[in-house]
């Protein structure tokens, strides 16, 4: 019964989406406010219906209803409850439901925070989002129904892929999808602006917080995925340039470019056409990512359940949504005037360079991801494009971008003075250069890449410090604390996000430069030394988990004769799918990770063992989190809160103040 309610809720949601995607847009075109006002209740209704469907599927998993095909295929009676719930998005059908659910969450959020928008704008935005969700609901109901029954019911489920039975599975997909789908808001804003023909600074100001929030989620989602791969796959790598990783990285690059381009449109009215195109691109790439993951056109570690028929549907959907919006762009964008002019050296030109570099990087990632497909389609042979290509094209493009990151925020809008900029930055450059050249010697090894990475990281931090000092000098107020408080949060957010990049760069540079690994055969009682740490293997015992059996190795780790830690890597066997999983043991620290993973059992209790010493590896994810935190700080800026409040319908002043105190 419950699954049927879920199914019915989805059908109703589709009906609502059809209404939401047509009438308000039509109403906005002809100026009928009755039709336009339908957008808000429709979006809220749709949110409620998809929420019901989502809960129904969750319930089916919670009560182990193996008469639902999807539940039987992705869970098992032995699977713990939190993984049964995470199994909602453990395969194709449920992932789509999560996608659609999150889309309606964003729609709901738009209805909550759009009181200050003109009625036509809001009707168009919600209408466009309704069209997108219509496509996904149709897709689910036609070829990927999560509520399909299995009659007679299975005695037990086939279980969730053991690779996915991990805390990462609980957090990574929802975060990633919040980011992916969040770009649909910026997309809907852009399409609404194109439809209405009013691409102005106000449009950019409204889009900015939405874009930044989506970007924060995507940043955290990617970081979680990378961290998960690091400890779960047992290879000790953190980024593999796998097609599906690239599929999440490309919207991130486009979104990063969009955030910067929106700043120019907001502050200076420039880059309008370009900003619109970026907004379309960021969401298009999210859709493309979904297509690549779900259609099976590319081989990938993530291609868990793929089906060409579904691929065809997504491709058609892709063609309609992206093709349609690019057509609209080609039709409407030429009429948008250019913004104010600017000099070759100015903040605009630096942000433009940042955009060009990010998009060039995006293009090269896209090319590398699709290149095997292109060659295969032209019958020119099968190849795979791996990390050497991506490393070779990505680093040279990012180096100037990171360098400009230090200068851009200090340059004036419209026209900056290059010699004067050089004067202001000379200390930052000198300090960065000397430290970057000297530090590797202190650490014991010098390579050009090591110095370059450190140079860029220190450069970003020192220029940020100069930036902050100059900013404080221009703020009124006697005490330092008062002046610090007067600096707007969006400015702090920018500095913090840029410093996050610096932290990330340090992590990457140090891991590349100083990581060491050893593949050894270890008998019981034998020791191996890596990175100054001595590992003693104390044998492996058999243990029982809730739905697996495992061999658990014990390693006593010491440094300079003193006990440091004890590590327990496991080799697990999941009997339902008869899969072997390597569960690495990791001892994390601010300055280094120790990483032990069990290979194969050898005779007499000996094992082949892989040991890694990874300096600064946690800075990679720490940097991403700092970036996201910067985004959150920027969104919490006063001016957005004021904008939302200012245009609210008139409320007596007294209640408004009271409300603020409570808030």
């Amino acid at each position: 019964m419950i699954p049927e309610i879920g199914q019915f809720a989805l059908i109703l949601a589709l009906c609502v989406a059809i209404v939401q995607g047509s009438l308000p847009i039509y109403g906005a075109a002809v100026g009928n406010s009755a039709l336009m006002s339908m957008a808000k209740p429709a979006a809220r209704g749709q949110f409620l219906l998809v929420l019901i469907a989502f809960c129904c599927l969750g319930y089916a998993f919670a009560v182990k209803d193996f008469s639902v095909l999807y539940v039987a295929a992705t869970s098992n009676s032995q699977l713990p409850l939190h993984y049964r719930l995470a199994a909602i998005w453990g395969a194709h059908e449920g992932s789509l439901l999560l996608w659609t659910f999150i889309l309606t969450v964003w729609m709901f959020a738009v209805t909550l925070f759009s009181a200050h928008l003109p009625e036509t704008m809001r009707a168009r935005i919600l209408g466009v989002m309704g069209l997108v969700s219509m496509g996904f609901l149709l897709f689910m109901l036609s070829v990927s129904n999560p509520f399909e029954r299995l009659i007679p019911a299975a005695a037990d489920g086939r279980d969730l892929n053991p690779l996915l039975q991990d805390p990462g599975m609980v957090m990574h997909p929802p975060m990633l999808y919040m980011g992916y789908v969040g770009f649909s808001v910026a997309f809907a804003f852009a399409i609404a602006a194109l439809l209405g023909g009013n691409l102005d600074a106000a449009w950019a100001r409204w889009s900015r917080p939405w874009t930044t929030v989506a970007w924060c989620f995507l940043t955290v989602g990617i970081a979680l995925g990378s961290g998960w791969a690091y400890y779960e796959l047992g290879w000790g790598g953190w980024w593999f340039w796998d097609p599906v990783e690239n599929a999440s990285f490309m919207p991130w690059l486009a979104g990063t470019a969009l955030i910067h381009s929106l700043a120019v449109t907001d502050k200076r009215g420039g880059f309008k056409v370009w900003t619109v195109l970026l907004a379309i691109m960021a969401f298009s790439l999210s859709l493309l990512g979904t297509f690549l993951v779900r259609s099976g056109v590319l081989t990938s570690v993530h291609a868990f359940a793929t089906d060409p028929k579904r691929g065809l549907f997504i491709l058609a959907f892709l063609a309609v949504v992206i093709g349609g919006s690019l057509l609209l762009y080609a039709w409407r964008a030429p009429r948008v005037g250019l913004g104010g002019g600017f000099d070759l050296v100015s903040r605009e030109s630096m942000l433009l360079a940042n955009n060009v570099l990010l998009i060039a990087a995006l293009g090269s990632v896209l090319l590398g991801t699709l290149y095997p497909l292109f060659l295969d389609a032209l019958d020119l042979g099968k190849i795979s494009v791996g990390p050497p290509y991506f490393d070779a094209v990505f680093a040279p493009l990012m180096t100037p971008a990171l360098f400009l990151m230090g200068i851009g925020p200090l340059a004036q809008w419209k026209k900056a003075n290059l010699p004067e900029l050089a004067m202001r930055l000379r200390w930052a450059f000198g300090v960065s250069l000397v430290t970057a050249l000297a530090l590797p010697f202190v650490l014991g090894k010098w390579t050009p890449l090591l110095s370059l990475g450190l140079l860029l990281a220190i450069w970003i931090v020192t220029t940020a410090a100069i930036n902050l000092r100059e900013r404080l000098a221009h703020v009124d107020g006697s005490s330092l604390a008062g002046r610090l408080a007067a600096v707007p949060r969006s400015y702090w957010g920018m500095l913090l996000a840029h410093c996050g990049i610096a932290v990330f760069v340090v992590g990457v540079t140090m891991v590349k430069g100083f990581e060491t690994e050893q593949d050894v055969r270890m008998n019981v009682g034998e020791t191996a030394t890596i990175g100054g740490y001595t590992f003693r293997f104390d044998g492996a015992q058999d243990i029982m988990g809730p739905n697996y059996t495992a061999a658990r190795g014990t390693f006593h780790v010491s440094r300079d004769g003193r006990d440091a830690t004890v590590m327990y890597p496991e080799k697990r066997r999941y009997p339902v799918q008869n899969q072997i999983m390597t569960e690495a043991a990791i001892d994390s620290g601010l300055l280094r990770d120790l990483y032990v993973s069990l290979g194969e059992p050898l005779e007499d209790g000996a094992w082949s063992v892989r040991l890694y010493y990874k300096p600064f590896v946690d800075w990679i994810w720490g940097g991403c989190l700092i970036m996201a935190l910067g985004g959150v700080l920027a969104v919490s800026d006063r001016r957005y809160r004021l904008a939302w409040r200012r245009e609210e319908p008139a409320v007596p002043a007294a209640t408004q103040t009271a409300g603020r105190k409570v808030a």
């Binding site: 056109v297 892709l318 093709g323 762009y329 080609a330 699709l370 099968k382």
Partner: protein, 175 residues
């Protein structure tokens, strides 16, 4: 050309490729040997060590060459398919026991059944190298002139046999 149409044109090209991509299987690995002469070999037979089995005995016949081993689990998976194909008599399947122990291989065939008229022993794996074997099981379709016409990496299943192997064998036999 209108520069505002550029993004759309790029997108149209990408969609075209994606559409073609949907019809392709990225997991299919081509063998450079398909369309080339099968490497010759002369190896001792599994059941009678004194006798030699050599590939040029089969010139003029369409035949399958199946690399297998008693230690390989994929070979167990495809074994019923091979037995059925052998019983149908459509095409002879010759076995190549790859990097295996003679006793274990014989025991394996006694236990599960023997689909092969003759099995050769490639103990060192040298013939496997000549054929570019990635891993067992692998199956080659070889025509009357001794040219490799098809290569299956991994276990055969009913679908592949019905849709690829048998039509190809019939076409080659008719030539």
């Amino acid at each position: 050309m209108n520069r505002f149409l550029l993004p759309l044109s790029i997108f149209v090209v990408v969609v075209g490729f994606l559409a073609v991509g949907l019809t392709l299987n990225p997991r299919e690995i081509p063998s450079p040997l398909v369309g080339k002469s099968a490497p010759d070999f002369s190896l001792p037979q599994l059941h009678d060590q004194g006798k030699v089995f050599s590939s040029n005995e089969l010139t003029g016949k369409v035949w399958l060459l199946n690399f297998w081993a008693s230690w390989c689990s994929g070979c167990k998976t495809e074994h019923p398919v091979l037995m059925q194909l052998a019983q149908s008599g459509e095409v002879p399947i010759y076995g190549m026991d790859y990097k295996d122990q003679r006793e274990e291989a014989l025991a394996w065939l006694r236990r599960w059944g023997n689909p092969y008229p003759v099995t050769a022993v490639d103990e060192s794996g040298r013939v496997g190298i000549n054929y570019g074997v990635y891993g067992v099981p692998e199956t080659y379709v070889i025509d009357k002139q001794g040219v490799i016409r098809y290569k299956q990496i991994g276990p055969l299943d009913d679908d592949v046999v019905a849709k690829k192997i048998l039509p190809l064998v019939k076409e080659l036999q008719a030539k």
